[in-house]
C-alpha cells in the first residue's frame, strides 16, 4: 500500500499548478489513462469500420460471383479490373479482415480501451503504474495499424495467405502475390503490435497488483478487473511466442534460413531450403492463437458480467465461480492449441490429447453461461443499451460455444475443418460475442469517458438490427460447412455441389450489408454524443463500482481529494434491508446496519459482535 501513498503525494504536487497541459499533451501524447483509453477506442472503431467494409467487399464477390460492379474498379483499380474483385485480392481481403478484427479491434480496441479506462478507475488508482509506457503502448499500436494499412498501397497487394499466414505460402514470395512486400509489412506490423500489447499488459498487471486502493483486496475487485487482469496475463505469456514465430518467418523470407521450409518445389524450381517444418509455425502460431481467442472474449465476458449485474439490479450469481472459471479458462487455454491442427498430419495421439483438454474448457464456459442466466433470474432488468448488448453476447456465446463442441472433437473436425462451419462458429463465439461485449462496454461507460449520454433509442435500433442480422449472416453458414464447402473460396461456381448455396450467399450478403448500415446508427450516435449528447450525471446506471464516485468532469488523478477506500464487494444490488437498491463499494458496513449479512464480515468477530448488538437493539423496530 506504500505505493499508493507515494502516488498520492506525487499528484497532490501536480494539483497545485505545476502542470500545464497543452493541446499536444492533453489529446495527442497524453499520459492520462482515460485519454489513452479514448485513443484506443476511436482507433479501434476506425479499424473496425475498415475491416467491416473489407468484409462487405468479399461478401459482394461471394454473392454475385458472375456480376460486374464497375464502381468497384473506380475504387480499387487493378484489383477489381472490369468491376470484379480478383481472386488474389479476395484472399487479401479475407486475410486483412481477419487480422484487423482479431488483433487491432478485438485485442487492442477492446482490451486496450477498457483496461486503460477501467483498471485505475475501478481499483481506485490515480493512473496506471507507468503512464509513459501506457502512452507508448498506444503509439506502437497506431504505428502497427498504419503499417498494416499501408500494405494496400504496395504493388503486389497486402498479405493474402489467411490471417494465420501458414508458411510456405506466406514464406515464399512466388507462392502468391500477397506473399511479397505485403507479407513483410504484415510481419513488421505484427511485431510492433505485439510490443504494444506487451507494454500494455505488463502495465495492467502491475497496476492491478500494486495500486489497488485501501480495502480493495482481490476478492473485492469487479469481474471486469478480474477478466482484464487474466487477459493481460494471457497476453504476456502468449504474445512473445508469436513474436518468436514471426521473427523466424522473417528470417526464412529474407535471410535464407529454413525454419519452416523443406523439400519445396515450385513447378520445376527446387528451393534450396532443407530441414524445416511448416508444422512448427502452426505450433508457434496457435500457442498464441488459441489463448488469443480468450484474450478476445474474456474482457467481453468481464464487461458483460458487470453490466448484467448492474442492470438486473442483482448481484452477479456465483462471483467466486465466475472468477474461478475465468482462471480455469486462462490456464486451460494454454494446452488446447493443438485442436487447430487435428488434420495437419500431426501425430494422431496428440489429436486425442488435445481433444480432451479442449472439451474440458467447455466446462468453465458453461458455468459462466449458467451464472449469467441465474443472475437474470428474478432480477429487475433495465434494458439499457448496454444490457441489450450484454444479453446479445450471452446468446452468441451460447450459440457459438456449442458448435465448438463439434469442432473440438477431433473425429468430427476431420470433416468440418476449414469449412464454413468453422467460419460460423468463431464469428459467433469470438466475433459477434466479443464485438457485442465491446459495444456493451462503450454504451455503459460512454458517460464515464465523455461525460455525456448516448441516445438510447438509436442504440436500440442499432442493437436490434445488428443482433438479428448477425444471426441471419452466420446461422446459415453452418450448413454450408456441413455440406463440405471450404472457407476462403473465391467463388462457388467451379463445383457443381456448391451451386445450391449461391442463393444463400446472396441472402447472407444482404444481411451483412444491412448489419453494416446499422453501424451507421452507432457511429453517428457515438460521435454526435461526444459533443452534443445529454450531459451525464455522476452515476447514471446506479452502479456500485468505484468509477462512478469520480466527478463527471475528468481530471488527471481521477479523484479530487483522497482516493476513496473500499469496504465491500461490488455487487450489493437490491440487498434486503437497504434503503436503495444499490450500495456503493465505498459505503462502510456501519452505514448499512439494517442490510448487513453475517457473510459480509468474512469472519471478523469484532464486526460480527457489533452487528449482533445492533440487531438486538433494533429488533423491536423491525417488528
Amino acid at each position: 500500500m506504500s505505493t499508493i501513498s507515494l502516488h498520492d503525494t506525487h499528484h497532490d504536487d501536480h494539483g497545485h499548478g505545476h502542470h500545464h497541459e497543452t493541446f499536444l499533451t492533453k489529446y495527442v501524447f497524453s499520459q492520462d489513462h482515460k485519454m489513452i483509453a479514448k485513443q484506443f477506442l476511436i482507433t479501434g472503431i476506425i479499424m473496425a469500420v475498415i475491416a467491416m467494409l473489407l468484409s462487405i467487399l468479399f461478401r459482394i464477390q461471394l454473392a454475385w460471383p458472375d456480376k460486374t460492379f464497375p464502381l468497384l474498379e473506380t475504387f480499387l483499380g487493378k484489383w477489381a479490373e472490369g468491376g470484379r474483385i480478383k481472386p488474389d485480392f479476395f484472399l487479401a481481403l479475407v486475410t486483412i479482415h481477419g487480422t484487423i478484427m482479431v488483433f487491432f479491434v478485438l485485442t487492442a480496441g477492446l482490451s486496450g480501451t477498457f483496461s486503460n479506462l477501467l483498471i485505475p478507475l475501478q481499483i481506485g488508482a490515480r493512473d496506471m503504474a507507468s503512464p509513459f509506457m501506457n502512452m507508448l503502448s498506444y503509439w506502437f499500436f497506431l504505428v502497427a495499424c498504419i503499417i498494416m494499412m499501408s500494405s494496400f498501397f504496395v504493388q503486389t497487394g497486402p498479405a493474402s495467405g489467411g490471417w494465420t499466414i501458414y508458411p510456405p505460402l506466406s514464406a515464399v514470395p512466388k507462392a502468391m502475390p500477397g506473399s511479397g512486400l505485403g507479407m513483410t509489412l504484415w510481419l513488421v506490423s505484427m511485431v510492433i503490435f505485439v510490443a504494444s500489447s506487451l507494454i500494455g499488459s505488463l502495465n495492467y498487471v502491475s497496476t492491478i497488483l500494486n495500486m489497488r486502493t485501501k480495502g480493495m483486496d482481490l476478492w473485492k475487485m469487479p469481474l471486469t478487473i478480474w477478466a482484464l487482469f487474466l487477459t493481460a496475463i494471457l497476453g504476456i505469456l502468449s504474445f512473445p511466442v508469436l513474436v518468436s514465430g514471426v521473427v523466424l518467418l522473417i528470417f526464412d523470407r529474407s535471410f535464407g534460413t529454413s525454419f519452416y521450409l523443406s523439400d519445396i518445389v515450385f513447378g520445376t524450381e527446387i528451393l534450396p531450403n532443407e530441414g524445416g517444418s511448416p508444422i512448427l509455425w502452426q505450433h508457434l502460431f496457435w500457442f498464441l492463437g488459441h489463448p488469443e481467442v480468450y484474450i478476445v472474449i474474456m474482457p467481453a465476458l468481464g464487461i458483460s458480467s458487470e453490466i448484467i449485474s448492474v442492470n438486473s439490479r442483482k448481484p452477479i450469481f456465483g462471483y467466486h465461480a465466475m472468477v474461478y472459471s475465468l482462471i480455469g479458462i486462462t490456464v486451460l487455454s494454454f494446452i488446447v492449441w493443438g485442436h487447430h491442427m487435428f488434420v495437419t498430419g500431426m501425430n494422431p495421439l496428440l489429436g486425442g490429447v488435445f481433444m480432451i483438454t479442449t472439451l474440458i474448457i467447455a466446462v468453465p464456459s458453461a458455468v459462466k453461461t449458467f451464472n449469467y442466466l441465474a443472475t437474470l433470474w428474478r432480477g429487475n432488468i433495465r434494458f439499457t443499451p448496454a444490457m441489450l448488448f450484454a444479453i446479445g453476447l450471452v446468446s452468441f456465446f451460447i450459440s457459438g460455444g456449442l458448435t465448438g463442441i463439434f469442432l473440438g472433437n477431433a473425429s468430427l473436425d476431420i470433416n468440418l475443418h476449414d469449412t464454413y462451419f468453422v467460419v460460423a462458429h468463431f464469428h459467433l463465439v469470438m466475433g459477434s460475442a466479443a464485438i457485442f461485449g465491446m459495444l456493451a462496454g462503450v454504451y455503459h461507460w460512454f458517460p464515464k469517458m465523455f461525460g455525456r449520454m448516448m441516445n438510447p433509442k438509436l442504440a436500440y435500433l442499432h442493437f436490434w438490427l445488428t443482433f438479428i442480422c448477425a444471426y441471419l449472416v452466420f446461422f446459415p453458414l453452418h450448413f454450408l460447412g456441413l455440406d463440405g464447402v471450404p472457407r476462403r473460396y473465391y467463388a462457388f461456381t467451379e463445383f457443381e455441389f456448391m451451386n445450391k448455396w449461391l442463393t444463400v450467399n446472396v441472402f447472407v450478403t444482404w444481411s451483412a450489408i444491412i448489419a453494416a448500415l446499422a453501424q451507421v446508427a452507432f457511429l453517428f450516435n457515438f460521435f454526435y454524443s461526444i459533443f452534443r449528447g445529454k450531459k451525464a450525471t455522476q452515476n447514471p446506471w446506479e452502479a456500485n463500482t468505484l468509477e462512478w464516485t469520480t466527478p463527471v468532469e475528468h481530471l488527471h488523478g481521477n479523484w479530487p481529494g483522497e482516493i476513496p477506500a473500499v469496504y465491500r464487494w461490488p455487487y450489493d444490488y437490491s440487498k434486503p434491508g437497504a434503503d436503495q437498491d444499490f450500495i456503493l463499494q465505498t459505503t462502510p458496513f456501519s452505514e448499512t446496519m439494517s442490510s448487513n449479512l453475517p457473510h459480509d464480515f468474512e469472519g471478523n468477530e469484532e464486526a460480527e459482535r457489533i452487528q449482533k448488538e445492533w440487531e438486538a437493539a433494533n429488533k423491536p423496530v423491525q417488528e
Binding site: P168, L373, V394, S411, I414, F479, G484
Partner: protein, 417 residues
C-alpha cells in the same frame, strides 16, 4: 391512449415504407447490374445509380431521425402533462426479446429442416458412418442445450423486465446449484470425449489385416492440381525425391527405386467399393488439404512431410446417384487449405466403382515411366519389335503429356475463367 395508437400506426407505416424501400432497392440493383453487363463503359449511369443509393440511404436516415423526433415530442408532451413516461422502453425491449425467441425458434426449425436437407448425404465410408453417429449425438445434445438456454435467457428477459413494483431478489450464490451445473456439463462432455476419442482412434489406428491389405495410392498436391499415382502390379508406390524434379519428372519420382517402375498415372481417383485404400499424401510447394467430404476424409498435405489416411469406401457412385436422386452426382476431392490464387478451383473427380470396373480401369492407365525418363535414369530402354518402335512415337507424346498434364490442367482453368 389514442396518441399511442397513432404511434403504433406510425411505426407500422414506417415498417411498410422500409419494406418498400428495400424491395425497390432490390429491383434497382438488378436493373443496375443488368445495365452494367450490357454497357460496362457507361460510368455515368453507374454513378447515377450509386448516387441514387446514397440518397436513398440518407432518406432512410432522415426518416429515422423524424421518427426519433416524433417520439421525443410525444414523450415531452407526456411529461408536461405530468403523466408517466410515454413509452416504456423496458417493456418494448422485453417484448422484442420474447418475439425474437418465438421467431428465432421457428427460424432454427426452418434452418434445420430446409438447409439441413441440403447438407452432405450419408457417409460413403466405413469410418464416416461412425463420424456421422458421433455428429448426430453431439447435434442432439447441443441442440437441446441451445434451445433450452435460449428459452431461459429470453423468457427471463421478458418476465423479469424492470418494474417499480418489484425488487430484485438478492441471491448471490448457491453452491449446490453451482456444483450441479459444473458436474453435469462435465459428465456430458466426458461422454462426448470418450466417444470422440474412440472414434478418432478407430480412424487413425487401424489393425493390419493380412487378408485385406489396402490399396496404396499416392496423391501429391501442388499449386492448384492433384497428381495421382497408382501402384503397378507390385502394389507399392515407389519413392519420391523432390530433388529429382525435372520438366519430364514433375513429381520427382525416384526411378532408381524398383517399386516406381510400374507406377501408373491417373487423371481421376477411382476406388473399388468395400476395399480399404490407403492414401499417401504429400505436397510439392505449399500446404494443401486433401478433402473428400463425402467420405469424411481430410488431411493436410504438407511439403517435407508424408501423411497417410486409410479408409474404406462403401457406396459406389452409381448407388449414391440413386440415393441422392441426382443423376449428375459425383464424389469430389477438393482443397480445403488456403493455397493461393486458384484455391477455389483445385479439384479432382473421384469415382467409386465395383471391383471388376476398377480392374478394368486400372489396366487402361499408362505408367509414369517413359522412354525419356528411362534415359534420364540410365535404365534400359526396351528394344522390342517393330510395334514397340511405333509406340515410341506416342510414348514421346506421353512424355509431353506427363509434363503437359499440368499445362493442360492449367489451360483448363484458364479456359474456365
Amino acid at each position: 391512449m389514442s396518441l399511442r395508437k397513432l404511434i403504433v400506426n406510425k411505426t407500422m407505416a414506417a415498417l411498410a415504407v422500409l419494406f418498400t424501400v428495400f424491395s425497390s432497392a432490390n429491383a434497382f440493383a438488378q436493373e443496375a447490374a443488368a445495365a452494367a453487363t450490357a454497357k460496362p463503359v457507361d460510368m455515368g449511369q453507374i454513378h447515377k445509380s450509386a448516387a441514387f443509393y446514397v440518397l436513398l440511404f440518407l432518406l432512410l436516415c432522415l426518416f429515422i431521425a423524424i421518427i426519433g423526433k416524433a417520439l421525443k415530442v410525444y414523450e415531452l408532451t407526456r411529461e408536461t402533462q405530468g403523466k408517466s413516461e410515454g413509452i416504456n422502453w423496458n417493456t418494448v425491449n422485453a417484448v422484442l426479446f420474447a418475439l425474437f425467441l418465438i421467431v428465432g425458434l421457428y427460424g432454427v426449425y426452418w434452418e434445420y429442416t430446409v438447409h439441413g436437407e441440403m447438407i452432405l448425404p450419408e457417409a460413403a465410408s466405413e469410418h464416416g458412418k461412425r463420424i456421422d453417429e458421433m455428429f448426430n449425438l453431439t447435434l442432439i445434445i447441443t441442440t437441446i442445450v441451445f434451445i433450452v438456454t435460449h428459452i431461459v435467457l429470453f423468457v427471463f428477459a421478458y418476465i423479469y423486465r424492470s418494474s417499480d413494483k418489484r425488487k430484485a431478489y438478492y441471491y448471490p450464490h448457491n453452491n449446490t446449484i453451482e456444483k450441479i451445473w459444473t458436474i453435469v456439463p462435465a459428465l456430458v462432455l466426458t461422454l462426448l470425449v470418450l466417444k470422440g476419442f474412440l472414434t478418432w482412434r478407430s480412424i487413425f489406428y487401424k489393425a493390419e489385416d493380412a487378408n485385406n491389405r489396402p490399396i496404396n495410392i499416392e496423391v501429391v498436391s501442388s499449386q492448384f492440381l492433384w497428381d495421382i499415382r497408382y501402384p503397378g502390379p507390385d502394389a507399392i508406390v515407389g519413392k519420391r525425391n523432390y530433388k529429382l524434379t525435372t520438366a519430364i519428372n514433375g513429381l520427382g519420382i525416384d526411378f532408381n527405386d524398383k517399386n516406381s517402375l510400374d507406377d501408373l498415372i491417373a487423371d481421376e481417383i477411382v476406388l473399388p467399393v468395400n476395399k480399404p485404400v490407403r492414401f499417401t499424401l504429400a505436397s510439392k510447394d505449399v500446404i494443401h488439404s486433401f478433402y473428400m467430404p463425402h467420405f469424411r476424409v481430410q488431411l493436410n498435405t504438407v511439403p517435407g512431410m508424408v501423411s497417410y489416411f486409410e479408409f474404406t469406401p462403401t457406396i459406389t457412385t452409381e448407388e449414391m446417384r440413386t440415393k441422392t436422386n441426382d443423376p449428375k452426382f459425383n464424389y469430389i476431392l477438393l482443397c480445403a487449405k488456403i493455397c493461393g490464387t486458384n484455391h477455389f478451383n483445385m479439384q479432382k473427380n473421384v469415382r467409386v466403382v465395383s471391383e471388376a470396373e476398377y480392374k478394368e480401369w486400372l489396366a487402361a492407365q499408362t505408367p509414369y515411366l517413359t522412354n525419356d525418363l528411362r534415359k534420364a535414369f540410365n535404365l534400359p530402354v526396351p528394344v522390342e519389335a517393330a510395334p514397340a518402335a511405333t509406340e515410341t512415337a506416342p510414348a514421346a507424346d506421353t512424355t509431353a503429356t506427363v509434363a503437359g498434364v499440368k499445362l493442360d490442367v492449367k489451360n483448363q482453368i484458364a479456359l474456365k475463367k
